[in-house]
Symmetry: C2
Subunit: 492 residues, 2 copies
């Protein structure tokens, strides 16, 4: 079988499974997601060492990440059980309306169809085979085709085998979840361009995400493509805040820059502050804190090489000076923590300094004043996050700043670090291009399900042919918009 | 000023106006939409004759369409005043959570930025300069650039002047609404490709919509493009329903096929039924009913020419036979009502028969059995609507049919005609490609606002820096998801 025939068979299987899977009740689907979580949990002692071997991430982190992964599946199960996420809306008939009778019109969200998910390397559990993209697809009622990440092939195989067993034991149709292990670009291209593919989810590099976008442009029919491609996550240190405790801020940010060897989409890669003696203190403490960080292995040799190449490219020019670097030299495929600094006008002139460098790196930009700060913020591309380290006085003194920040990113943080993405209903892990390819969606949190659903309108349906969500009796007791009023009552 | 400079100036104006307009309160924005509606209403006696002159549509229809247009503006005003549409969600901080404290995380929808709307010719009021796309953009808080439809330039100018006066008298910023009257393809291309443009709305032909999609593909940053490009809106006449009253069905559908000379995106262009004596009766009555229809002028010469060319192309082949045609010959730019029929196997073989012919035309396909019916339905592209004329017995006898229909379209209708699109919260005027370019959205009904908004997450914000929608006190008394429970209560 050629690769093309193989991908075709997979997508036809996904389509056939979809005709059955999409009809599963929300209750059964919730149970299925909980079964997937339990199945992964039961193999924890095998999964974590495999992830350690392939990703070089420390055990504690991977234990936590697996918990996050099973919690994500359970969060979507809870969403399905509660049920109101389908945006059910009912406009009841008004047969006596003049000049024209009004028909009975109802709508709710339904799954789009088979979705292809490309796993990320930096979260071998939480953004990979059984990660948030996969969980959101399965919760939506769409079938799932996972393109394994080549950075952890054995783990992906193992996780898929666990998921696949749970599909069958949960009574879901064969091929509800499928796994593509071919690592060629052609496999990705064929998956994105297959006529059956109804959506694509991706987390990874800008290069990878943009390649998928290009593949998708050649499709006859446009489909939802959500690629999360990272960002530099600007942080602004305001003067009043900085003056209060520059040492604490430097310690907090040294940690955020180097945690997990900086291998997070939300790594604070750009720190902006107006020149001041407090900033000098911040930089001095940052130097000491970075010096203490021990280099650790990065995810794989390719990422470490890209980091080193990018870092050397920056250092060999005279645009930046070093703020601090690890005292311990990096060996093997370890990342070497490094923080640099430059002036505002240099940063504005040298566009390469705005590019994401994936690893334990950040650039501090010392600006002359708030006007230069604003110019820099306005020059940046779309971001996943922006952060303000600010007192209420700082915020009040600069009333335009929150507006500037929300224009730039999907999440605006005050007085915290951008690393650490809470999985909850209010989380948005998205943002304007190039952070993602569709500013209207998120890949973390239960709202991520909205990428894979579409509204369907039911006009004039007899009660017993309506989906349960739209029946007058409201058997699922969900919140609905009934004649423009929110209610969870029955209409009988 | 060159065209390029002119478009650039317009988009820069739209961007600058956006920084002010997006901050308008929902209450003020609602008043603004009501003012727009009132201003249009006050000029009704001038607007309707102008629309009649340029569109050739009858006065009664245009009076009704203008009312629909002002009602749309008022419906969005009501949506803003109620306020819950922003999908506000609050996850409160849990500082004592172990192992990690949980931050305070909130989200809501905010406008995307300047949106370009391309008006349609077939609804000079309701889908044009002040139509549903425009109303949804303004309601979202995005600024609006309208590309006038060349089919009714004087009307578009007049409507824009009315809107623009109301912008100023409502205290909204200059350039909240702008009007582009250049009719060249280049103008459209420059608008879609401008770096400031944050969204595109279009209603019209497949050719026009696909051209905009191609323009958008050349953008560096992807933006939401929603093009509604029409469809053939299949109708299935089931045997039990057909047997009950074939005469009434034929009269109902003769009306739906020819109303407004068939110039609706929801015109029933394909009628499917299993062969039977009831179907023969239906066809005989349909013949008589179509014969009685008087040809009327179509929207403009180009549309009439396209209709005639398309109709002749169909009639000159031997794939169809005529069911019925108007007794009165068409003159000038009148449309000539015509219904044809063919066999299921012919329809399946001849792909050109599946193409939309915009005008008072429909094709009846006589199928051998339900299996052939299913094959035909599965062969169709995406549709705005599908319709089942069916008794409960019919639906029960063919349990798969509703599933087949929902796969195909954004709206599934039982026992009604697809023409007549109710403007309400539950309406979906959308569907899979090629009916639209994004199956997840609608261009009719208040849900249309969702095309032009994006979620923004606020983490760790002091209460007084949060938008009103997310403040603990819930001053707008909207429905919110608070710690995963729906409530309209204050959190104080």
């Amino acid at each position: 079988m050629t690769l093309e025939e193989n991908i075709d068979q997979i997508m036809v299987n996904a389509k056939n499974a979809f005709t059955i899977y999409k009809k599963s009740s929300k209750k059964d689907r919730a149970q299925f997601l909980e079964n997937l979580a339990d199945a992964l949990e039961s193999q924890r002692t095998e999964l974590v060492p495999l992830a350690m071997e392939e990703s070089h991430l420390p055990e504690g982190r991977l234990q936590g990440e697996l918990s996050r992964t099973t919690n994500q599946l359970k969060a979507f199960a809870a969403l399905l059980k509660e049920g109101s996420w389908v945006e059910a809306s009912i406009d009841q008939a008004k047969p006596d309306r003049k000049p024209l009778a009004k028909a009975d019109i109802r709508k709710m969200l339904q799954p789009v169809g088979p979705v292809v998910v490309f796993g990320a390397s930096n979260f071998p559990f939480a953004f990979s085979t059984a990660g948030g993209d996969s969980a959101s697809v399965l919760a939506s009622g769409s079938t799932l085709v996972i393109k394994a990440h080549p950075g952890h092939p054995k783990l992906s195989d193992k996780v898929f085998a666990i998921l696949d067993s749970a599909v069958i034991s949960s009574g879901m149709p064969e091929f509800t979840i499928q796994h593509v292990t071919d690592t060629s670009f052609d496999a990705g291209k064929l998956l994105v361009q297959h006529t059956v593919t109804a959506g694509v989810g991706f987390t990874g590099s800008q290069k990878g995400g943009l390649a998928l976008v290009e593949y998708a442009k050649a499709r006859k029919n446009p489909i939802p493509v959500f690629a999360e491609m990272g960002s530099i996550n600007p942080v602004v240190l305001f003067s009043d805040k900085l003056a209060q405790d520059p040492t604490a801020l430097a310690k907090q940010y040294a940690g955020s820059i180097t945690v997990g060897m900086g291998q997070f989409c939300t790594n604070p890669g750009l720190i902006l502050a107006v020149k001041s003696s407090s900033l000098d203190t911040f930089l001095a403490v940052l130097k000491d804190e970075i010096a203490k960080v021990l280099p650790q292995k990065m995810l794989h040799a390719g990422i470490q090489k890209a980091y080193n190449t990018g870092l050397n490219r920056i250092l060999e020019k005279s645009d930046v000076s070093i703020v601090g670097k690890a005292d311990t030299e990096a060996v093997d495929i370890e990342g070497y923590p490094t923080v640099v600094k430059t002036e505002g006008k240099t940063f504005l002139q040298k566009e390469y300094l705005q590019e994401e460098l994936f690893g334990p790196y950040s650039i501090v930009v010392e600006v002359e004043d708030l006007s230069e700060l604003e110019t820099i913020l306005a020059s940046l591309g779309g971001q996943l996050t922006t952060t303000l380290m600010a007192t209420e006085k700082d915020l009040a003194d600069y009333p335009n700043i929150i507006d500037l920040q929300t224009s730039l990113a999907g999440r605006v943080i005050i007085n915290d670090v951008p690393t650490g993405v809470e999985v909850c209903s209010s989380m948005i892990h998205g943002g304007p291009f190039p952070a993602t390819t569709d500013v209207r969606y998120t890949s973390v949190g239960t709202t991520a399900i909205k990428r894979w659903v579409r509204p369907i309108c039911y006009q004039g349906f007899p009660e017993n042919f309506l989906p349960d969500e739209l029946k007058a009796a409201n058997p699922l007791k969900i919140w609905r918009l009934v004649d423009d009023n929110w209610t969870n009552e029955s209409q009988n």
